[in-house]
């Protein structure tokens, strides 16, 4: 977990991840109706954020934690792969352009490793061409967030994704997020 995230949590102790009682994903998801971070106490979702840019890491962590997520952030693909393999996350938020292993490759490797439970993946990237989106979808992501994005709205979006995933399955989410979506014009 980054120093920045820790600092922000110190300022806002209610979001301390330790306060979250162990619960199943389903029970945590039941609290998705509430938008406010404070109401998400009973439904803390665990997110692994893999992002190399310190500013982006700070923004995501801060807003996700306010949105009721428990955020673990790492800087490199290799670290992300290691932490994700350990399991225990409800969602992986992967930056595509990572210094070592790209986000697509991290997702790919996780899918290929048999023992790891298939944690839903959402990509986060400044690259948003049709090709990039198609690659993201092919890598098994349920959603693809193109930078710049509104970090305040990010927790809602991820909650929606997870709720729909639980309700209708990954393909339904993908259809909504990728289907007919043009991203940005191919260069």
């Amino acid at each position: 977990m980054s120093v920045a995230a820790a600092e922000i949590r110190a300022v806002d102790p209610q979001d301390e991840p330790g306060a979250d009682p162990p619960a199943t994903r389903a029970s945590r998801l039941s609290g998705t109706g509430s938008a406010g971070g404070r109401h998400a106490e009973t439904a803390r979702l665990r997110v692994l954020l893999v992002e190399d840019e310190p500013s982006m890491r700070l923004l995501c962590t801060f807003n996700l934690e306010l949105g009721g997520f428990e955020v673990t952030s790492v800087e490199t693909g290799a670290e992300g792969l290691a932490r994700a393999s350990e399991g225990g996350f409800d969602l992986l938020l992967l930056d595509v352009m990572l210094p070592d292993l790209g986000g697509f490759e991290v997702a790919q490797r996780l899918r290929e490793s048999a023992e790891a439970p298939c944690t839903p993946v959402v990509f986060l990237s400044a690259r948003g061409s049709e090709t990039d989106l198609a690659r993201g979808r092919a890598a098994g992501a349920i959603d693809y967030v193109v930078k710049p994005f509104d970090p305040v709205a990010l927790p809602h979006r991820l909650r929606d994704d997870l709720a729909e995933l639980a309700r209708s399955g990954a393909d339904a989410v993908r259809r909504r997020r990728f289907g007919g979506r043009s991203g940005e014009p191919d260069l």
Partner: protein
Amino acid sequence: MVARAGARLEEPFTARAGLRTDGARTARRTVRAALVVLIALLVASVAAAAVSVRRIYTLANTRYLEQAAPIYAATQDVLVEMLNQDTAVRGYLISGDPSTLEPYREGRAREAAELAQIAANASSDPRVPAHLAAVRRDVAWLERFYAHQIALFRSGPAGQRQARREVLNGKARFDHFRLLALQLEADAGRVVERARSAQHGTFVNALVFVIAIGALAVAIALTLLLRVPERLYHLYRAEEEARRGAEEGAEAARALAHVGEAVILVDDSDTVRYWNPAAEHLLGLSGSAVVGRALAAATPAVDRALEATRGGEPAAVTIDDRRRWLESAESRFEGGRVIVLRDLTESRELERIRADFVATAAHELRTPLAAIYGAVRTLLREDHHLPDATRARFLAMIESESERLRRLMDQLLVTAQLDGETLVVHCETVDLCALCRSLVDSTGLQLPETFDLSVDIPTAPLDVTADPERLRQAIGNLLENAIKYSPDGGRIEVRVGARDGRAHVEIADSGIGIPPEEQERIFDKFYRLDPTMTRGVGGSGLGLYIIRQVVERMGGEVGVDSELGKGSTFTIALQRA
């Protein structure tokens, strides 16, 4: 256009060359014949003149010396002899002195010879024989008369009296003889006259002949004069034109040898006639191996390429296991066709690199923009009160990311200027020592405590040729890199000096270093050292690219010497002013 060039290659070297040779041969034959005729005429003219002169000389010689003169002289002699005889006989008749008869006897002895000489030349005039015969008759009569007189005189006084009486008989006959002799003389004169007239005739004939030959020669010479220079001019023009044509053909061939497109000339029987070096390169077959062979047999790749690109759109064709993007054009002309294949592989690759550049640039711009936007959105949250420290943190983020965005834009602009060769570098004489000192002073102030800055800059000025502002940015960037890539701090050295006639600035750090295989690539556009080891050091990937490009445009060089884990030394070498 291609078809014309192709036809031009074929045609000038065969038909036109043949025409040119034939024309030259005809002209040579004509001029040679005319000159031979001219020389023959001159020889004939000289010969005719010589013959005429000789003829005139011979005529004069013959008529004067051989015919007229002997007749004339002999006639005179006969006349004189007869006169002497007559005088001698008369003297004898008067004096009775036998010694007076001496001329008579001499005359008798000579006259026969004289008459014989006239007879020998009697053929020179038709009238001579008749006149001669008459003279002979008179001479014979007179001789008989003289003999008779002498005999009478010797016979005694009666005979002497009778002889004296008969003297006058001889006078009439002698007058007759004299008349005849004069006629003979006139005959000789006529011979001379005829010789003169023959001479005149020969002269006139010779003159006419020589004039005629001369006129003919002049006519031929005039013809040559009028026709040969004109002919030569036309021949020269034709030659000149042919030479130009051949040169154009050679130039067309040279141009075709240097065009980037593969150009193949194929005749109607599908035999390859020309295969330029670009075709050799593209299709991997040398011209000598292909020219003269059927195209399809030599290589099926051309037909495949034509088939694939028939719609005019570029297509990928595999040639010798290499995938090539090709575009084709085919021009038909009478006798064959020209096939042009353009290899677009490289330009497509450049296009891809350019697109990558734009995509990467957009990504690089989006990243700070996303941070700024995200920070602003977070600061504007109404559902959560942000403590002042957190607000300050997000504001600082906006500030630093804006600065990052500004620098990135500047770098992109400089990169675009470098790519378009529009970057202006104002070189002037710069004191490298002073520039580095001022840079080190400002860097030193911002340097974290974990760093130890060591400076080795001479006090004396070291003048170099450089753009001071761009050089300051370049050295400043290298100093920033030294700090950025030394996450644990350490020693940073700045050394300025001169060696090998150039001035050098070295910026050495004890940071993470660069693996040997990466040391050249770090100067590539958008290349970033594997950031796993940089522990999250950010950057556009344009800094070193710009430094090297800009320094090279000042006539300098940028190099790096590094050992992984030990640190890096970047060197800028500049021309001394």
